[in-house]
């Protein structure tokens, strides 16, 4: 026996430390809340100042902070310092990794079955369509933000261009959805290139500001160009999509009559569900394909180091433009779908709020991760509906959930990056190494 038995070191701070911390927090709370909660002022009946004290509420508030501080500190000790590797039994680990690999296929199969399982629940079908629309938008923006590392705050502009392209082409020229869909994508991509040109020299915050402004410009043009877009009144009577020419209507030439089944309005909802699912999967497939092509690798290299890209002979201008155009094209497809689903569009649907929501989905999902974006869209849109019962606390719960998520997973739900090509082992790359891009 040579070495003495190792003494248990680095004990967690004792009760005195926790109490001291809680006391300081309570003191700060007392100072802050004594005026905000402790004293209430109001105008009296004659306009004079009246005030009364609410020391009971104040005491409750301070006590909550005191107690909360203790609980927080205990929780922190229980979890251990950030980055501690806790020993997980191999069996659990392998189960977890298996579960991780199964998430995507299970989710996909479930999505395919949603219209079957919830055929009679219109609400769930509509929600599913909404979630899938945002999944598609998220995947589209992921090309620009996640892969190329270009912060785009005006993505809704392309969504709007797609929606108005379909709406105007269909109502004015009577073109069918299937003709308009590629046109909407091409027009949106064209606007993506138009936006791309002036902003190519900008980086980071400046790029974000210009794209934000671009989103607003498109919206304002739509509002003010009354003769073309109908201004704030929007476009009404947008034709519903057809199953390659067969309308989903109760008439004799409708799908139901042709198949000899009874007409139900749910048919159209189910059709729309599978339509957006197909569009979203197309987006996903193309993005995954593009990542493995030189253009996709150039996007990611651009995010990692633009100077090195130039030294390797990569044309950074066209590379950025293709990223903008590709992302915009998918936004345009989603916009065309949105227009045909709603039958009515107005500028109100294309506010900055939408851009922020889609960007939040991409960031929460883990920039660059396809599965992460899908999960984030499900959580953001589906979860938002889930909390509807909480009424006015809905936003609060939602905000808290986002803050917690950002503390635990600062690089999004799925932060690691999968390599696009490998020789022997396909190992994920830690998010610590992957750059976020700077413009």
């Amino acid at each position: 026996m040579s070495a003495p038995p190792a003494v248990q070191t680095s004990r967690a701070p004792g009760a005195a430390f926790i109490l001291k911390k809680a006391l300081i927090s309570a003191l700060v709370a007392l100072v802050l809340f004594s005026l905000m909660i402790g004293v209430r002022t109001d105008a009296g009946p004659d306009g004079q100042l009246t005030y009364w004290t609410r020391f009971g509420d104040l005491a409750a508030m301070v006590a909550t902070v005191f107690g909360g501080s203790i609980v927080l500190e205990l929780l922190r000790q229980w979890w251990g310092p950030v980055g501690t590797i806790r020993v997980v039994p191999p069996a659990v680990q392998s189960t977890l990794s298996l579960a991780g690999r199964l998430v995507a296929p299970v989710l996909l199969v479930f999505t395919f079955l949603v219209p079957v399982l919830f055929y009679n629940e219109r609400y769930i079908l509509d929600l599913g369509i909404l979630v899938l629309t945002y999944v598609m938008l998220g995947w589209g923006l992921n090309v620009v933000v996640g892969l190329a590392g270009l912060l785009d705050l005006g993505y809704v502009a392309f969504y709007a261009v797609g929606a108005y392209s379909y709406a105007l082409l269909a109502t004015n020229f009577g073109l069918s959805f299937w003709v308009c869909l590629p046109l909407a994508g091409i027009l949106a991509a064209f606007w993506g290139v138009l936006l791309g040109f002036p902003v190519l020299r900008l980086r980071g915050d400046y790029l974000a500001i210009v794209t934000l402004a671009f989103g607003e410009i498109i919206r304002l043009v739509i509002i003010n160009w009354q003769s073309l877009t109908g201004g704030p009144n929007g476009v009404t009577g947008i034709p519903r999509p057809t199953l390659f020419g067969i309308p989903l209507t109760p008439g004799d030439d409708g799908l139901a009559a042709m198949l000899g089944i009874e007409f139900s309005p749910t048919h159209r909802v189910v059709f729309l569900f599978y339509l957006i699912l197909a569009l979203a999967l197309l987006t996903n497939w193309v993005t995954i394909r593009l990542r493995r092509l030189p253009i996709g690798r150039a996007w990611e290299a651009l995010r990692e180091d633009e100077v090195a890209c130039r030294a390797l002979g990569i044309n950074t201008t066209t590379t950025k433009l293709t990223a903008f155009a590709t992302g915009a094209m998918f936004g345009g497809f989603a916009g065309a779908f949105f227009a045909t689903r709603q039958g009515f569009i107005s500028p109100e649907s294309f506010t900055f709020h939408e851009s922020a929501l889609v960007l939040a989905i991409v960031v929460l999902g883990g920039m660059g991760s396809q599965l992460g974006v899908a999960l984030a869209a499900l959580a953001m849109i589906g979860g938002f509906e889930l909390f509807r019962g909480l009424e006015q606390y809905r936003m609060l719960v939602f905000g808290m959930a986002m803050v917690l998520l950002m503390i635990w997973r600062p690089r999004g739900l799925i932060g690691h990056r999968a390599p696009t090509v490998f020789l022997k082992t396909n190992q994920a790359i830690s998010s610590d190494l992957v750059k976020e891009g700077h413009g």
Partner: protein
């Protein structure tokens, strides 16, 4: 001096406002040879590099690059990525600039971007998975594999570049530059931060690049043991002007060079003199 020059720098000047970083510099780099550019800190070596590789537009002067087939290109007329794409000049950086979040293999694949873009039919052939694209991609992977093997990183091909040790990152950056199939390879202090053994391996790698690929090399280096061992020709700069040039042997004995180093930095002067003995 009627040698076969791959690069002729003629009266190159670069001013930043009132500061003259490079003043009327002329030198030649011979084909299939290693030319070293040395000088004390702040002599303007990296500025010359940035002019040659298109990161700066020189205030005046000409830089003429002649490919093996006799095709001549005036580098000062090209800018940005075109230097690498059309003139086939590749470079590495003083502070390593790999793509840290991509694997070593991916780094080498990105370097073959222009060739692969053509092979993928500007993405469209690649998107549908055409056989010609698959073949080109496999060829690119094979080339990357060859280079990974040469720099001894084949086992770490699937590791993130940012996770590799410093010396490996330096070699990977050189391999990445070589994957662009350059005519002229410009290395900015490739031995900086390497230990003696890694420096020796680097010298060997550079000699083999010159010998096997026939690539001409222009390098900036402070490590005199590397410079003296592998250079065919040395150009010495100080305060933006050329103060000497010649074979390593001639430079070693040049009093002007020793004075420049003595005047600039004692440590470097000692390093020069020690490696000269």
């Amino acid at each position: 001096m009627s040698g076969d020059h791959i690069l002729s720098v003629d009266r190159l000047s670069m001013r930043f406002g009132g500061i003259v970083a490079v003043n009327d510099l002329s030198f030649n780099a011979e084909r299939r040879k290693i030319t070293a550019l040395i000088g004390p800190n702040g002599a303007g070596k990296t500025t010359v590099f940035n002019c040659i590789t298109g990161f700066y537009k020189p205030t005046s002067g000409a830089m003429r690059l002649v490919h093996d087939d006799g095709h001549a290109i005036q580098l000062e007329r090209l800018n940005d990525f075109r230097i690498s794409k059309l003139a086939r000049v590749a470079r590495t950086f003083q502070n390593i600039r790999l793509f840290p979040g991509m694997t070593a293999l991916e780094n080498l694949m990105v370097a073959q971007h222009n060739a692969l873009m053509r092979a993928s039919g500007l993405t469209f052939l690649g998107l549908i998975g055409a056989p010609s694209w698959r073949k080109a991609e496999q060829a690119a992977i094979d080339l990357a594999q060859t280079w990974l093997d040469r720099i001894g990183l084949l086992d770490r091909a699937d590791d993130a570049a940012g996770n590799l040790p410093y010396g490996d990152q330096r070699r990977l950056e050189i391999a990445r530059a070589m994957c662009t199939q350059p005519a002229l390879l410009c290395l900015d202090e490739p031995a900086a931060g390497l230990n003696a053994r890694e420096s020796a391996a680097l010298s060997e790698l550079l000699l083999s690049i010159r010998g096997d690929q026939g690539t001409s090399i222009l390098l900036i280096e402070h490590d005199m043991s590397v410079v003296m061992e592998i250079s065919d020709h040395v150009v010495v700069m100080d305060h933006g002007i050329k103060i000497a040039e010649g074979t390593p042997q001639q430079i070693r004995d040049d009093p002007k060079v020793i004075a420049a180093y003595l005047g600039a930095d004692e440590e470097e002067a000692i390093a020069v003199m020690e490696s000269g003995t």
